[in-house]
Structure formats: structure tokens, C-alpha cells
């Protein structure tokens, strides 16, 4: 087979494959997904009581005031290198020995402790580290626990009521051994508002 003929064959094959695998296959999967799992396929959107879309259960949001300070009436998510901008997922990519990261961690620990009026050693790791995606919707149950009193105070709710809501939005390990126990901040905060 001559090289030029090979290249033409290759181009034809690439085009045919593009039609089958690049157009046909995604469309078929999309069609099935739309019928079989419409909510998930569309992004697990969450709505408020008014039926208005307020985010995705899978995508974290920031709960900051207009001045950039954390709002006490909301459970605070993990720090984010992306500022919870869903169109710019990203981690900090800072190495374990990075001085800037170390300083940031120390600062966050102090801030979180102050904000929630707890001791620094009560602040769990996820509260002081940015996630990989910058869109992590979850926090650890420990981080949720140290926020309960503050949120309850800010909202004038009993701590038990808040704690009950936290429990309702806490997931354990899948099948008992996959992943870590976690609290979904987005759905929890939406529930607090609702």
C-alpha cells in the first residue's frame, strides 16, 4: 500500500469513526440518559421552595457576604482555589512543602477557630485545605459539628434543630467502605433557608 493511499484510507476511517463515535454514540447516550436519568443527566439541580434552580447538589457554592467575609448563618464549605466558580474548576496545586500553603493553612486554622469560637485543635483538616476541584460541595462531619453553634445562633434556631438538619444531609461511607462520611453544604444550607 502506498503511503498516500494509506493516508487517504486513514482519513476516511477517521471521518467514519468520528461520525459513529463522535456523534452517534454521544447522542445515543444522551437520549437514553434523558429518558432514564433525567435529573442526574441534567446536573442534579436543586431548587428552592419556589421551584427556582439554586445550584447543583454536586457543585459547591461559596457563602460569603458582599464584602467577602463568611456569612455566619450558613455552613461554610472548604476553602476553594477556584472561589466556587463552576466555570473554572481548579485546585491550588501547591506542594506539601510550599511555604505559602503552610502559611495559608495556619491562617485558615486561626480564622476558622475564631469564626466558630472553637479551639484551633478542633478544626479538622478539610476546613483548612482547598479541594482538588475547587467545587467540593462536601465538608467533614467534624467541620459541620464545629459550625452548628454559630449557625444556630445566627439563625436563632436551636442547636439540636440544626444538628438534625446536618444529620439529614450527612452521608456515610458508600457500602460501608467507599469514601468518607460527609455533609453536603449546598443542600444543607438550602434546607436551612427553606
Amino acid at each position: 500500500m502506498k503511503p498516500t493511499r494509506t493516508l487517504w484510507t486513514a482519513l476516511r476511517l477517521t471521518l467514519v469513526l468520528t461520525v459513529v463515535l463522535g456523534i452517534g454514540y454521544p447522542l445515543v447516550v444522551t437520549a437514553i440518559g434523558r429518558v432514564a436519568f433525567p435529573a442526574q443527566a441534567a446536573g442534579s439541580l436543586v431548587r428552592d421552595d419556589a421551584g427556582q434552580v439554586r445550584g447543583s447538589a454536586l457543585i459547591g457554592q461559596s457563602f460569603l457576604g458582599s464584602d467577602g467575609t463568611p456569612l455566619p448563618q450558613y455552613f461554610q464549605p472548604r476553602p476553594s482555589a477556584a472561589g466556587y466558580d463552576a466555570a473554572a474548576s481548579s485546585g491550588s496545586n501547591l506542594g506539601p512543602e510550599d511555604a505559602g500553603l503552610a502559611a495559608a493553612v495556619a491562617q485558615r486554622r486561626a480564622d476558622v477557630a475564631t469564626f466558630n469560637a472553637v479551639r484551633e485543635d478542633q478544626v479538622p483538616p478539610d476546613a483548612v485545605t482547598a479541594s482538588g476541584s475547587g467545587l467540593d460541595p462536601h465538608i467533614s462531619p467534624q467541620y459541620a459539628a464545629i459550625q452548628v453553634a454559630r449557625v444556630a445562633a445566627a439563625r436563632g434556631m436551636t442547636e439540636d434543630a440544626v444538628r438534625a438538619l446536618v444529620a439529614a444531609h450527612t452521608q456515610g461511607r458508600t457500602l460501608g467502605f467507599l469514601g468518607e462520611p460527609r455533609v453536603n453544604v449546598v443542600t444543607l444550607n438550602l434546607a436551612l433557608d427553606g
Binding site: R54, L94, D98
Partner: protein, 555 residues
């Protein structure tokens, strides 16, 4: 912490059980796919359209030429799609990629590397993702499998005039009969668990606090599944499998790990069946499993222990990791992605602990053979087995033989070049980058970690992995060009050598084994292949590793 350790062991155990259960039927199925003389009706029409004779046995050189022609066509088409994005439908309003990024991306996806110097959600529209990247996710994987199968045929055949199969048929069957059916099922499983699958554009929504956030759309599940199944690793979004829409929960995390390891761990079975000696397949699988288990163990230990300045301040190495996967799930994913040529990440590897990052890097340096990329893992491991046979075979006093083929001057020359190519690309690329201006400009952190970033980049690119210590600003023309070259060299030079080896082996007569033949299926040999792999790679990279991850780890 003990609960986490048990969870880590549990997920590792269930993964092995699942893979063990599936690899027998899948390996047998793949052997049938590549051995069957029959074409389906669809395929016959397909070949008529392409005007190729799928039954024409090709010599290794023709096979290689077809492969290179196909890859060139892929690069051209993908480059065009990237550059012309602004003028094509479903572009979400994104402009075309700049030439360096388009070249890097085209090379990256064609070589099964899927190194990304662009951000998916900020640069690639749905058409580019589907018709460009998803397609290459399929076919670059099918190319790797075809090469592996060609090498297996070389070992299995006897005196065939260097004929090792038909590339067009192997590619078609790999993509349509193996990858596509699994992909459809896998995509639906992922979609059911929250991976999005739509053709909607990104739309603005109002968040709980009244801010504006983009609600993302896209055919993610259909691309996500082949991203892992084909050990590609190029994420739909910038954060890759750390992104909640690519990898929404711990279950999908395990599914993705399973899919990453699925074909690489089943191919040894295919190999064993095709050479008519299943024990050879077991032995290869044994080496892969052994090396990968050690890597997983070390990586998991490193991340759970969390040594280092920032992790100890934070209380755990959670920087760059997702709460839903936890340390153990992240470490398992990291070992799977670097042990194969996947490069998908569910955490930011740059923020791994120093020993953890070192293990991830070293696992790639092994040549991604534990268990390796689809196809590339098997052919890489077979080359290492041939190398081991050569040294060990001499020690039993015979001209070394593997699967009944004599390993003489021609064979060992090809093997030696194979073993030489990727380390050369890694070392030269890294060395140039740490002493030149454009290279140094990309380094995020000074000191040993900066060296690790560069070394990781070239290790990943040359081994066609695609993961990164992403602190490195690799989106520059310099790094786009250099890593692009590393990917090309790291992909096609080894493939050419492997096909040449396949041709030589296929034209040899098979020598029957005797008591004097070195048995290549016993535990001793399995251990020896592992040891040779570790020693050869270790000796090559220890100097540079000692200035990067080793120094960091000893801080």
C-alpha cells in the same frame, strides 16, 4: 484512622475481586475478537466504504505505516477541529485554540496521553469534546490494543514472513467490538450516579446567597467513560475526575478505577490464550499485580500518614483532595491512573505528599506497565519480560527464549532501544527545562518541588500518562512544544520498535520448550521481571529522583 485503613483495604480488596471476576471472560472475549476470521455485516460495509481488505495480512512495516498514517490523520483532524472551533457548531461561543495549544492537544489525545494545557470548561465546546476528543479517546486506545495484539501474534505465530495482522481490522474491532459496548454500559452507570450528559450550553443560575454561578452542560458521561476505559485521562473539565460532574461520589470513583484497570488487566489473559499457554498470561498479570499492589500500598500509606510541612499543619494531606473520596479513595485512584497510562486525576497530584508524589512519578517511570495503558501496558511488560529472559536465560545456559522465540541480537537491539527511548525523552526534556529561561518560567515552586513538577511533566508526557503536577504553568508555547515532542517520541518510537519486534518474532519458528528452557510462568520468573523492571528504572532515575521527591521526602 483505623476505620480509614480498613476502608482502604476493603476498597482495594473489592476492586481486585471485581477485576479477577471480569478478566477471564473479557480476556477470552478479546482473544476471540482479534482472532476471529469473521466480520460482522456492519463491518463488511464499513470496510467496503473504506476500500480496505480486512483479511490482508500485513507485514510489520505495512502495519506500522497504516498506524502512523491513521495517527497523522487523527492529529490533522483534531488540530483542524481545535483551530476552527469558532466556525463550527456547538462551540459554546469559544474561539479556536491557539496553534501551540491546538498542536499540543492534537498530539496529546492522539498519543493516548491526554495531557491538557487548556481548561475544558473554559476552552472546549461540545463539538470539539465529542467529535474530536471523545473519538480520539476511543481510537488511540484501540491503536494501543492493536499494537499489543500484533506483538502477541508475533509471539504466537511461527515462520509467517513477518505478517502480524491487519491494522484496519484490528483498529475497527478494538473500537467497535470491545470499547464501544463497554463504554455504552459504563456511560449509563456513570450518568445514573450523577455524571451529566446533555448537549445544553452552560447557563447562569442564582446561588443560595444570590450570586451567579454557571450551571454546566455537556456530553460528559459518554466521554468520561472512555476517558477511563481507554486509559486516556483527558478530563471534560479542568479538574478532571476531581470535578463533581465527572466523578460525583465514592461509588463512581471506584467504577472509574475499575474501568481504568479493566482492559489492561484482562489483556494478559488474551495474551495467554493467543499464545496457547495461559500460564504465560498469569505470569504477566502476576508481575503487573505485584508492582501495582506495592505502588498502591506505598501511595496509600504516604497519603494516610501525611508527612510534610503543610499536611502536618492541616492535620492530614487533604489539600487538593475531595471530601467525598477521602485519602484512601484518592490514593487508590492515583495509583491506578499512574500505573496505567491514564492520567485522569481525582485529586491534584501536585499537592500529594512528597513520598506519595514520588511513588506516582516512579510508577509512571516504570514505563506504565503495572498494569499499564490499554495495549501499551501489555506490550511494555512483554518487552520487559523479553529483557528479563535475555539476562536470566543466559544464566541457565541457553540462548534466551520467550514463548518459544529466540531472543538474539536483532530482538535485544529493539528491546534495548525501547527501554532507552522513554527515559531519554524524560531526562533530556527535564534537564533542558530546568536550565533554560522558558522552562524555569513555568515552575511554580522553587527548590526540589519545582524539579519534581518539571520531572513529573516530562515523565507523564513521555510515558503518555497525561496527569500533571499542575502547578507547572505548562500552557506556554515552550512547554506545549516540548511536551508535545515528548508525547510523540514516547508513543510512536516504542510502537515502531514493538511492531518491528513483532515482525521479527512472527518470522521465527517457535522452539518447543524443554526442561532446559527457562520457564517463564513460575513465581521465580515473575519476581525476576518485577526486579529487573525496578532495577533498570531505578538505576536510570535515582539520581534525578534523589534531587526531587527523595530530598522532599527526607525534609
Amino acid at each position: 484512622m483505623t476505620a480509614t485503613v480498613w476502608a482502604a483495604i476493603g476498597q482495594f480488596g473489592i476492586l481486585l475481586v471485581l477485576l479477577a471476576a471480569v478478566h477471564l471472560p473479557l480476556g477470552a472475549y478479546m482473544a476471540r475478537v482479534y482472532s476471529s476470521p469473521h466480520h460482522t455485516r456492519v463491518e463488511r460495509a464499513w470496510y467496503r466504504t473504506l476500500r480496505v481488505d480486512p483479511d490482508a495480512e500485513q507485514r510489520w512495516s505495512t502495519y506500522l505505516l497504516s498506524l502512523l498514517g491513521f495517527s497523522l490523520a487523527s492529529v490533522l483532524l483534531l488540530y483542524a477541529l481545535g483551530r476552527l472551533q469558532a466556525h463550527l457548531p456547538w462551540n459554546l461561543g469559544f474561539s479556536g485554540l491557539d496553534p501551540a495549544t491546538a498542536w499540543n492537544t492534537a498530539v496529546s489525545f492522539t498519543t493516548n496521553t491526554n495531557w491538557q494545557s487548556y481548561s475544558g470548561e473554559a476552552a472546549a465546546g461540545h463539538l470539539l469534546q465529542m467529535a474530536g476528543l471523545t473519538v480520539q479517546n476511543f481510537v488511540s486506545a484501540a491503536v494501543g490494543m492493536a499494537v499489543a495484539i500484533a506483538l502477541v501474534r508475533g509471539l504466537a505465530r511461527s515462520g509467517t514472513d513477518a505478517r502480524i495482522g491487519n491494522f484496519w481490522s484490528d483498529l475497527t474491532r478494538g473500537a467497535l467490538r470491545i470499547l464501544l459496548p463497554i463504554a455504552v454500559v459504563g456511560a449509563l452507570v456513570l450518568a445514573a450516579n450523577g455524571v451529566i450528559q446533555s448537549l445544553d450550553p452552560h447557563t447562569a443560575i442564582t446561588t443560595i446567597t444570590g450570586e451567579t454561578q454557571q450551571a454546566l452542560g455537556g456530553p460528559v458521561a459518554s466521554q468520561e467513560v472512555i476517558k477511563v476505559l481507554g486509559t486516556n485521562g483527558g478530563g471534560f473539565f479542568n479538574a478532571n475526575s476531581a470535578h463533581p460532574f465527572e466523578n460525583p461520589n465514592a461509588l463512581t470513583n471506584l467504577v472509574e478505577i475499575f474501568l481504568i484497570l479493566l482492559i489492561p488487566s484482562a489483556l494478559p489473559r488474551t495474551f495467554g490464550l493467543m499464545v496457547g499457554d495461559r500460564r504465560q498470561g498469569w505470569a504477566i498479570l502476576g508481575v503487573m499485580t505485584g508492582l501495582w499492589t506495592v505502588a498502591t500500598g506505598l501511595l496509600t500509606w504516604a497519603e494516610l500518614a501525611g508527612p510534610g510541612l503543610a499536611p502536618s499543619l492541616a492535620g492530614a494531606a487533604m489539600e487538593g483532595k475531595e471530601a467525598r473520596f477521602g485519602l484512601a479513595g484518592t490514593a487508590l485512584f492515583g495509583a491506578a491512573t499512574t500505573g496505567t497510562s491514564t492520567g485522569a486525576v481525582d485529586s491534584m497530584h501536585d499537592s500529594l505528599t512528597a513520598p506519595g508524589g514520588g511513588v506516582a512519578m516512579f510508577t509512571m517511570m516504570l514505563g506504565e506497565v503495572a498494569p499499564g495503558g490499554v495495549g501499551s501496558g501489555l506490550y511494555g511488560m512483554l518487552v520487559l519480560a523479553v529483557l528479563t529472559v535475555f539476562i536470566a536465560g543466559l544464566m541457565v545456559g541457553r540462548t534466551p527464549e520467550y514463548a518459544g522465540k529466540k531472543i538474539g541480537r536483532g530482538e535485544i537491539t529493539l528491546v534495548a532501544l525501547y527501554v532507552l527511548t522513554v527515559p531519554a525523552a524524560v531526562l533530556l526534556g527535564s534537564a533542558i527545562s530546568v536550565v533554560t529561561g522558558p522552562g524555569l518560567a513555568g515552575i511554580q515552586e522553587a527548590g526540589p518541588h519545582g524539579l519534581s513538577e518539571v520531572l513529573y511533566a516530562f515523565t507523564s508526557a513521555s510515558n503518555n500518562n497525561g496527569s500533571a503536577f499542575a502547578g507547572l504553568a505548562a500552557g506556554t508555547p515552550y512547554f506545549n512544544t516540548m511536551t508535545g515532542l515528548a508525547m510523540l517520541v514516547g508513543r510512536f518510537v516504542p510502537i515502531a520498535l514493538v511492531l518491528a519486534l513483532a515482525g521479527r518474532l512472527a518470522s521465527q519458528n517457535t522452539v518447543p520448550a524443554s526442561a532446559g528452557t527457562l520457564p517463564t510462568h513460575r513465581p521465580l520468573f515473575v519476581g525476576l521481571v518485577g526486579a529487573v523492571t525496578l532495577v533498570v528504572v531505578g538505576l536510570t532515575f535515582i539520581p534525578v529522583l534523589s534531587l526531587g521527591p527523595v530530598v522532599e521526602s527526607l525534609s
